[in-house]
Symmetry: C2
């Protein structure tokens, strides 16, 4: 298989092609794996993520845009300004497929432009356009203007990736957006594009994706499609979207509420996917070529939170900006989600950061912050006054954060830096700087391990152990029981999901499939006729180890941990009342290291050898 990269040099406004060879692709597959490898090779150690030396890899995988099933995504990789380690994020919509149709399997964004610029790629032709008129603009308007300029009004043709004011203004919690409402949200990579002054990329084209064996591909894709279609979770996702999880996770007492001080939210039903479907849903929608169609198209017709027909909100956004800040009005959350998307924020990080801010505000008023810091905070907050549950304060805060005005200058830095600045670091619930998502590991104890050992910081998408602890996939566990088999499953998911993110597929495939399901279809596409299921899973393990090595290289002596609150403060309510994540983490971590072949979080040299990572041996333990 050949994999064609477009290297975009923003310093010189110049682009060149590069073809990656079969060997590298087979070792790292594509997407996330390929990005990790290229970043490791090309991004010098210890650079400032916000410098022209950083690079952003926007990558598809061998299955992207083949149209088989959930193949409509792309993956972004770079050094994260939020975490200081390798950052990556994945997004749906239709940008990934259209990038391939435009002639390239991936883009490497290099250097930095002096002035705002956007890039169009149409059937292999690359053009640089001054973007001064688009700088400062929201994502929705940016897409409109670019589509007008490219004479491509139909949203079914071509695709726009863009950053909003948040990314331009170097917010560390800014999201790379595409197709207006889709986000490669996590780890703040939009700030890197903002630093490089790349406002947007437009892609369109008619390239056909070559395959070694088209007939076999179609047969295999039908098999996978059938599995996905028949799975009940696929059906629930289509009906109620990801927010179908609100009631489920809340019922488990693992729905983080009021900045992770509680595990249940009394207004959960009113912000659930079921309620959304009843009240504000226009229709459901899928990414390019998708059959599950979990995306929501919603609107709020009138009132203070009037929102036009637009996509979302997702479960994570509803939780982070809702339960976690005590905002229980779904209309408000639809509005907040729209603004967060349009201005270009990661809703998980933004919601957590606002929850942290609300906690700091409360502490400042109660005299629980250092006196000078309390004074400074109250002074900065005089116009916003973020009381728990106040959506209007949140709306004003989003605007301030997008343009870094007043307190917004600190909100834009994310929860960790905000809380540290005001002398209350434990008010930020994060791992390695990445704000945690919507599952409390005190109520779903496998998530303790998933969060602590995630390579990009606190994240539910490295291992989604909710699937077995709550949803019963592949089998049902007791979420509160300590069970070492969970460690094996977490490791498996981490490796398997590395494969999925590299192929690049949607993780909602994985309720119905495992890694063995993708061997034959990958053969059909690539012609790697001797590929085995083991080789594929080992590639996943290789990628997982390589990502960890990036952090080791950056000098993060690798202690896997959880936020103090989750270790020391028992949940006060719900089915998990009285629980912390301490026992789970302490029990699981040693066994995990043993399974991984790691010492204190660092891969052993022999592990690296086993995985074919000899060239990075010097970073091993």
């Amino acid at each position: 298989m050949e994999f064609k990269l477009l290297r975009i040099d923003l310093t010189e406004w110049r682009a060149k092609e590069e073809v990656l060879k079969d060997g590298i692709m087979r070792k790292y597959i594509g997407g996330r794996g390929l990005g990790a490898y290229l970043a490791m090779k090309e991004i010098p150690p210890h650079i400032n993520p916000l410098s022209s030396e950083n690079k952003i890899y926007i990558l598809t995988g061998p299955l992207t845009g083949t149209g088989a099933f959930e193949t409509g995504r792309y993956h972004v990789v770079g050094k994260s300004p939020l975490t200081g380690i390798l950052g990556d994020s994945n997004s749906g919509g239709q940008f990934g497929p259209w990038l391939r149709f435009a002639g390239y399997d991936g883009i490497v964004v290099e250097g930095a432009s002096d002035e705002p610029v956007w890039v169009s790629i149409v059937d292999g032709e690359v053009r640089f356009h001054p973007a001064k008129r688009l700088w400062g603009k929201g994502v929705v308007y940016t897409e409109k203007k670019i589509r007008a300029e490219m004479k491509t009004p139909s949203e079914h043709i071509g695709s726009v990736l863009a950053i909003g004011p948040a990314g331009e203004n170097l917010s560390k919690i800014a999201a790379i957006m595409n197709d207006k409402y889709r986000a490669a949200g996590r780890t703040g990579l939009a700030a890197v594009l903002g630093y490089k002054k790349l406002k947007a990329i437009f892609v369109k084209g008619s390239r056909k994706i070559e395959m070694a064996d088209k007939k076999k591909f179609h047969e295999e894709s039908k098999k996978i499609l059938k599995k996905i279609m028949e799975h009940p979770i696929s059906d629930a996702l289509g009906k109620f979207g990801t927010a179908v999880l609100v009631n489920i996770i809340n019922a488990h007492g693992a729905f983080p509420t009021k900045n992770w001080t509680r595990g249940t939210f009394e207004k959960a039903f009113e912000i659930s996917g079921e309620y959304l479907a009843e009240k504000y849903l226009v229709t459901n929608k899928g990414c390019w070529g998708c059959v599950i169609r979990c995306a929501r198209v919603s609107k709020v017709d009138s009132g203070p939170f009037r929102t036009p027909v637009s996509e979302g909100p997702e479960y994570e956004s509803i939780w982070a900006m809702g339960a976690n800040t005590l905002i229980g009005d779904l209309k408000a959350l639809i509005k907040l989600n729209y603004l967060a998307n349009d201005l270009g924020f990661d809703t998980i990080s933004l919601g957590n950061t606002m929850a942290t801010l609300m906690e700091l505000y409360e502490k400042a008023k109660k005299g629980e912050l250092p006196e000078d810091k309390a004074k400074e905070l109250l002074d900065l907050l005089e116009d916003i006054a973020p009381e728990w549950g106040d959506p209007h304060a949140f709306i004003q805060a989003i605007w301030r954060a997008a343009y870094r005005d007043g307190i917004g200058d600190l909100i834009a830095e994310g929860a960790k830096r905000l809380a540290e600045y005001f002398g209350s670091p434990d008010s930020a619930i994060h791992v390695r700087g990445l704000e945690l998502p919507a599952y409390d590991p005190r109520g779903i104890n496998s998530m303790a391990l998933s969060y602590a050992t995630s390579n990009r910081g606190g994240c539910h998408l490295r291992a989604y152990s909710v699937s077995f602890d709550v949803l019963g996939v592949p089998e049902k566990f007791d979420p509160l029981a300590i069970d070492k088999r969970k460690v094996e499953l977490v490791k498996y998911q981490q490796d398997y999901f590395s494969v999925i993110d590299s192929l690049v597929l949607c993780k909602f495939n994985t309720f119905a499939t495992d890694h063995t399901d993708y061997v034959e279809i990958l053969k059909a596409v690539t012609g790697w006729d001797d590929l085995t299921a083991d080789e594929l899973l080992i590639a996943g393990e290789r990628i997982y180890n390589l990502e960890r090595l990036f952090a080791v290289r950056e000098g993060h002596g690798y202690k896997d941990y959880l936020p103090k609150r989750l270790i020391e403060e028992p949940l006060p309510d719900g089915p998990a009342k009285g629980k912390t994540a301490k026992e789970a983490l302490e029990t699981y971590l040693p066994y995990y290291y043993e399974l991984r072949g790691w010492v204190d979080g660092i891969p052993k040299k022999e592990t690296l050898h086993r995985l074919g990572l000899e060239e990075f041996e010097h970073l091993g333990a």
Copy 2:
């Protein structure tokens, strides 16, 4: 008298002093008059107002900061990006006096900087500071940061003038702000500072203002002070602020409502100064050295429109953003006022522009705009949907306008350009591009002449004929009766107010005084011992004619006019029901030209000779 100017060259980050001689000062007095003269001499004809060739004059007058009575203001002059003719605006607070104490009587801002910059002037020492970290920030935060850097936290010491994001982003309705909440709002001169990338000026110092005869000065100032203190309007302004006018003007049926389609607002009382005093007033406040103290300090404690303790809102802001858009909730108006100030908009222009937008939105939905324009507008408005009376839409629109996102890009251009763009020019109620203030000339017919002949476009501060048509100063007229004596009074006010703006004084002096009151005190300060009252009034007339010549020079063949709506559409309600402004304008204008010695709006050469404006004779008729 010597008048010391500081010329700030932003291209080179360099400053130099220049002393103006007695002759020029006596001819043009200071402030507005001096600015008009310098602009006429120094700003080349036909330049783009948003270019480095434009200049901004920030000027005090001979009485500024003398502390006698209302001497706490300053005046700004430059070529207006909104109107294309001479723009000027006046502001209170404390910047004017502190500028003089800092060592200069005026500042000329020249050239343009490549990067954002702010300037500090402390006891004659001028420093240029990079302002990259302040760019994009609101006015409140900017002042805080600058005061912190200058180690001058007390708001009683020194003063900050700043532009907000609106000015940075070249909004033609952006205001130059000072002391956080004070605005030199009209004619969009903040955009010129934005173009020049001058974010702010800090002034502080201990210079004493020299006077020819201090003893006489004190005696004279006491006389004037007594007159002001004893006048009932001064008392009403102190108690209820400028918004004391809401009920009065509404009762006259001259309170423009729903974008000037009605003359009364059913919720007038709920947005009046009396209601404000009862519900949201914290205290009243004065500019530097003021005894009237008409400024409001207000707050909204909670709810969607929570606003911190801050200044305003004024009558004009309440009207423009309230009655004119059908927003009848004073809490919302306090919030809108706060945001407009912080982001740096002229509230009169902004409120009118939003009212125009609401009208266009309604027309688009009713099919009353050209089809393609309706489509474009509805597309741009999908996220804001500005229905009449919706404060939340307005809040979102302010943010969009400040950063020129989406429809905000057109709101930022002001009502005239917005309405023209969408094919409905008569939906913008303006004269020469400047949106009209809060008095309907169909209900107060002298205002027809005041608006039409105002030199900076539609404005109530060139001649405030409300004073005799409504308030009975100097005598009460019937506001609906055609009476040619009103023409004489309008002309007198225009000339007298030119003197007031040049001295630089507050116009609230003028209810209690006329031009003769200022002769002796001006002698005491300047030593112009042979000054007469006639000379002073002729200086005012000279200034008024000179401003008109600037417009003639720019090629505005000078037709004085009113918006079509006010000429052709009778008021449908209230005491002025059935009235238009047509008869008044047509009756008053010929007599006005006769009194002025003008032909079709252009001063005759002989008039210019009489006024000592021989050097501009070539522009005369």
